[in-house]
Symmetry: C2
Subunit: 355 residues, 2 copies
């Protein structure tokens, strides 16, 4: 069954705030979804546990019950943010990385778009990072040994044809729905000729998989080394439309792109698989500002909108995004990361009013 | 023997233009060094071959004779830039990556500094990327196999205590000579707890290696995840002084930092070991503009200055850098990457006049 076409009586959403400001921004996402009323199926929210805080209390960062609830009860989920211990903590491993793998959410889709001053105008930055979400150095296959000169640590970077193909397929699908229909493959095959070579060749080969149907013929493809891609991102962001990248480059590039639109607090994402989708703001748990009611809720709210789109409720997504754009344009109610003085909860109220 | 203290009758410099604009910018470096006259030892330039162009002609990207000449005859070297094939080419492997390893040039030092409008003023961006230069994914230990779902490629990421310690030591030494004396360790230990954990802990442990002498007590140390470091680099570049990083993060971060100062064409580097140093502009071979005499020679000229500093000729370095800053401030003779209309050779003449 396709995620976007199944008719649903209700929408069960797993809510996983996890750590820090995750607890403060997810209520905004919930409020935005609720504000849509009967234009989407009846909503059921299921609160679920995970995170570093949970680990320090219980010894488990991602409880089995959370994974089970997502797999068996939920249609989709919203994730907050995770904290990272400042030193290695035995037995701890990032629950978000684990969740992406366990739920096979192989695509991390991160649209980075600036809000133009006038509704009709083209935004200065308008790109989507399509990040592979299950492999690369994130397979976490690491070990330490002792050699003649001391400790030696090795990690495996895994790139498979299968994962590269499905993320490539996702990138083409997304590009096809955008006016410019352009893909830039990000890699470092001048050093990693085998792993990044496989990624690049596999993505390039996606259109040919569809035989003569010409499905992706209108999509243009270029490529760029990751170092120079970051450089050009800052100098000529308009050259990018869809950027498809292996996991780690995608992680870095999406943060770089976020700097272009004023704040990480604005950038949403979804972790998408073939049968499940989980919204997640790109920002972290921000322990320095947690608990002060000043975190920007817009990335989480936009993530909820993006999640709706992937479930086939594009109109709902439009309404949430339109309301957010209005609040940003008006510029009167913004959190400190955007130069404003408003509280998280005040921004949520302003957006909800406009939905 | 220490690089910086050996008394020399002459300075033998291996010149390796390699590919593309490497051929156009190295003459600028040579002219700058020659302009210093008798304030430095007599110069001898030895032209050496390497590069992708050389590979396509001969089947070898880094001839044995080049490595031997560097090891047996030269005191130091200047490298231009290498091209990367746009598709995998059997038998080709980057000569710059090989050279760094063969000459044990374990530190890639990349100062990124903006030129302030007035000579007395503090520059807006003033940082140094200290990049480990021999390991990480650059060990190029890659292989491809075939699994149940198609091709699978794996690369090894190697981080050793020894390499992390010496790059850490280099970072502390450099920080000690800067007014702010601050180090930021760049890593991704929330995912790579073992490899990046080893890097971070080893760098942090450097001061303790020196026992009670307190050599590095005045240096402050913080750390940052690579994704958020790139984000903050664009938003708050002033928070950085010395950034020390494993090889690949260092590669990406130095390009990101270069975007802050207006052009990659301004950013120099040295590849430094304990007994050899090689200057190298951070930019690539720029095939799109090669042969037009419009490449910016300033990064190569600054790299020559930086090389001199590492050899103990700080005054010579100052004179070259001072002349470059003047030309930038005057703003009349600049290459197109800086918004000017001048030729490579014209810029070289202007700088040389002021040395
Ligand atoms: C928290 C961390 C493991 C995560 C990642 O690296 O994927 C984060 O940076 C992100 O981008 O979602
Ligand atoms: C050409 C390439 C192998 C090289 C690197 O990745 O080190 C370049 O990007 C650099 O920064 O010197």
């Amino acid at each position: 069954r396709s995620l976007a076409t199944s008719a649903r009586q209700s929408l069960k959403i797993g809510m996983i705030p996890a750590d820090g400001i995750g607890h403060e921004v997810l209520p905004g996402a919930k409020a935005a979804l609720q504000a849509l009323g009967s234009s989407i199926p009846r909503l059921e929210f299921i609160d679920l546990l995970a995170g570093f805080e949970h680990f320090t209390k219980t010894g488990t960062a991602l409880p089995e019950e959370t994974v089970e609830a997502l797999q068996k009860e939920c249609d989709c989920a919203m994730f907050g943010a995770v904290s990272s211990p400042s030193r290695k903590v035995a037995g701890y491993s990032s629950p978000i990385v684990a969740l992406r793998k366990k739920m096979d959410l192989y695509a991390n889709i991160r649209p980075v778009t600036s809000v133009s001053p006038n509704p009709g105008e083209k935004p200065a930055v308008d790109l989507v990072v399509v990040r592979e979400n299950t492999e690369c150095l994130y397979v976490k296959d690491e070990k330490q040994t002792v050699g003649p000169h001391g400790k030696e640590a090795r990690a495996t970077r895994l790139i498979t044809e299968r994962a590269s193909r499905r993320i490539g397929e996702m990138a083409f699908k997304i590009a096809l729905n955008r006016p410019r229909k352009h893909i830039t493959i990000i890699h470092k095959s001048n050093v990693l000729s085998i792993t990044d070579g496989l990624f690049r060749e596999t993505v390039r080969a996606v259109p040919a998989l569809h035989g003569a149907d010409g499905r992706y013929d209108s999509v243009t493809v270029t490529e760029q080394l990751v170092d120079s891609a970051v450089y050009r991102l800052f100098r000529e962001p308009h050259i990018y439309d869809v950027m498809v990248a292996p996991n780690l480059y995608g992680d870095i590039i999406s943060d770089a792109a976020a700097a272009l639109v004023g704040s990480l607090g604005l950038v949403p994402s979804v972790n998408a698989g073939d049968t499940f989708v989980m919204g997640e703001p790109v920002h972290g748990s921000a322990p320095d500002i947690a608990g002060q009611n000043i975190a920007n809720p817009l990335a989480a709210m936009r993530s909820a909108a993006l999640m709706l789109r992937h479930l086939g409720y594009g109109e709902g997504g439009d309404r949430i995004e339109g309301a957010i754009d209005e609040v940003i344009r008006e510029g009167r109610c913004l959190t400190p990361d955007l130069g404003g003085k408003s509280k998280t909860t005040e921004v949520v109220v302003e957006v909800v009013k406009r939905i």
